[in-house]
């Protein structure tokens, strides 16, 4: 089912947790909400579920306005960050809960509920654990019980709040792949929250990058990594370095000196680039000049911390070759040039294309 958010806002005691967000989620899509802590991801998810109510805006489920519907009427599958399994019930009863509490007219029989629960446990690969209690399960198993429980009600949309947040790195990776497979098989419209960018980029059809209650960018993994729409997205997704620059007559001045980079516009701006996307130049060549203030060895590269124009510090990665190791000591001067970069006006958020 298509889910459309139209200019929705929600404030807690005047604090705008979600501010004027619009978003169209296509039926069957797998969407990630990505953003730093406190950016409003959970609040947005709870608004869609009906666990919080809107201050402004509308939410459409298909063609129907769901804004005023209660959480029960919305029929969403919500997987909570800490699972919220019913600890007094065994796994099968947890999974069957949503069917058991249906009104009498639409409630399946006892054996049918049990059959459906076992079927779902099979789907999430937990067959044989139906008699266990939540306390007797590992984190990853609890996570999958919570998912099976949410799927049992045949939800219009599946909402997952940091589904892998409490798990260790290895289990996270496994479950991530598994969730992707499950999504492909069942085709539920799914929205999940994460603050792990790798997880968002790998798993989602589209990623919604959030910051301070607003949407910064919506796009595929390629879109948001290769064409970040704002300085925030550039800084938040992947690694990035930035410098204040001045645009003048089609060239970019760094610390008042021409950098050999060209860009349209005039006045102050901010230059963003990926630390790995730089070329080291010979001394005297036209580029960005600076002094090495620190050097760390990463696996196959060396990360240099460079002071540009005295006060600004950027990081660049250089190949870790024997011939560079001696030259790039702390205190030595280097000149470099980003192969790819993006310019953002100091105040505006829309990017100006780099020439």
């Amino acid at each position: 089912m298509d889910i459309v958010l139209q200019n929705i806002s929600k404030a807690f005691d005047d604090y705008p947790a979600v501010h004027d967000i619009s978003l169209a989620i296509r039926s069957g899509e797998l969407i990630a909400l990505l953003g730093p802590s406190g950016s409003g991801k959970t609040t947005l998810l709870r608004l869609i579920a009906g666990l919080e109510f809107l201050d402004r805006g509308r939410i459409l489920f298909g063609d129907e306005d769901a804004s005023a519907k209660s959480v029960q009427e919305r029929n969403v599958g919500f997987v909570f960050q800490h699972y919220a399994l019913f600890k007094q019930m065994n796994v099968a009863d947890n999974v069957g809960f949503g069917l058991r509490v249906r009104p009498r007219a639409s409630r399946p029989g006892r054996t049918e509920i049990r059959r459906r629960a076992l079927e779902l446990l099979d789907l999430v690969q937990l067959s044989g654990l139906e008699k266990r209690f939540p306390m007797q399960l590992s984190g990853g198993q609890r996570q999958r019980v919570a998912l099976a429980r949410a799927l049992a009600i045949e939800p219009a949309v599946l909402l997952l709040d940091e589904p892998f947040g409490a798990l260790d790195a290895k289990v996270r990776k496994e479950l991530r792949r598994w969730l992707r497979d499950l999504h492909e098989r069942t085709g539920h419209t799914t929205v999940f929250v994460t603050h792990d960018q790798e997880e968002a980029l790998e798993l989602a059809d589209r990623v919604v990058v959030m910051n301070a209650g607003r949407v910064e960018q919506v796009g595929t993994a390629d879109d948001i990594y290769d064409a970040p729409a704002s300085p925030f997205v550039h800084g938040f997704i992947g690694e990035s370095s930035s410098l204040p620059v001045t645009l003048s007559g089609g060239t970019i001045l760094v610390a008042g000196r021409p950098s050999g980079l060209v860009g349209a516009g005039a006045g102050a701006a901010r230059l963003f680039f990926r630390p790995g996307h730089v070329d080291l130049l010979r001394p005297g060549e036209r580029g960005i000049a600076g002094v090495v203030t620190g050097s760390r060895r990463l696996t196959d590269r060396r990360r240099l911390e460079i002071a540009v124009g005295g006060s600004h510090s950027v990081e660049i990665d250089v190949p870790s070759l024997p011939e560079t190791s001696g030259v790039l000591e702390t205190g030595s001067e280097v000149v470099f040039r980003p192969r790819e970069f993006r310019l953002y006006g100091e105040s505006e958020t829309a990017p100006r294309r780099a020439a």
Partner: protein, 297 residues
Amino acid sequence: MAAELSGAPLRISRPVRRGRSATTEAPAVRVALVGLVFVFLGFFLMLPLVAVFVEALRGGISAYLAAIVEPDALAAIRLTLIVAAIAVPANMVFGVAAAWAVAKFEFKGKSLLVTLIDLPFSVSPVISGLVYVLLFGAQGFFGPFLDAHGVEIIFAVPGIVLATIFVTFPFVARELIPLMQEQGSGDEEAALSLGASGFTTFLLVTLPNVKWALLYGVLLCNARAMGEFGAVSVVSGHIRGLTNTMPLHVEILYNEYSFAAAFAVASLLALLALFTLALKTFLEWRFAGAIAAERAH
């Protein structure tokens, strides 16, 4: 890393104060402290309890039984049971409702409500009783109205029930509030999102999550409801066979120098206390795991 590893055995072989952790006192201090507690408990708690039974049985078993089956004693026992049978369920409902409101909702005046719940604990029971006399007594606030409609509250059973409810109100609520606050409303939200109505959620999720705490609260509430003296004494009027509860009956017998009979009835109350304690201990022992699960959310 390597330096740390090679350092480890050194740390182990460092001389330690054997068999004692930093928070453990010297053996002599320990023995003295434990001994002191036992002497104190023995003198102030065990001795009186034993004395009650010794005094009660001083005249022999038949005198003991006679004192209990005497009509006024039986009436007192019956009244005590009736009062508890009304006050305890009422406070169970009030307590759960109050705990629910405090733990699950945010609203203005919440801290005031929590303070009010504790009021019966901080006010002398005699004053609680007097307040009811002021409100419902013949000269009281609602007195003329009640009189006109032929409703008797003070010096009658309704007054005793009201005073008992007031005095025992905090037990259930106090037991539930911290637990429900700790558990938050995550489970309830999960149940609602799965389509359960508010009431179904309460029955299937909230109540099972707090059942042990609720049982504790009810046990304590019951013990106090049956044993309350001060507030009940003020509103009861001490009418033998009619408005005397067991504690009041004990006092009357005692004032009449019928010591054996007084202690016989008192021993029933003491047995109730022992039974409550034993049941509480048994539940704690038998369901330690489940109770820990309730707390560890």
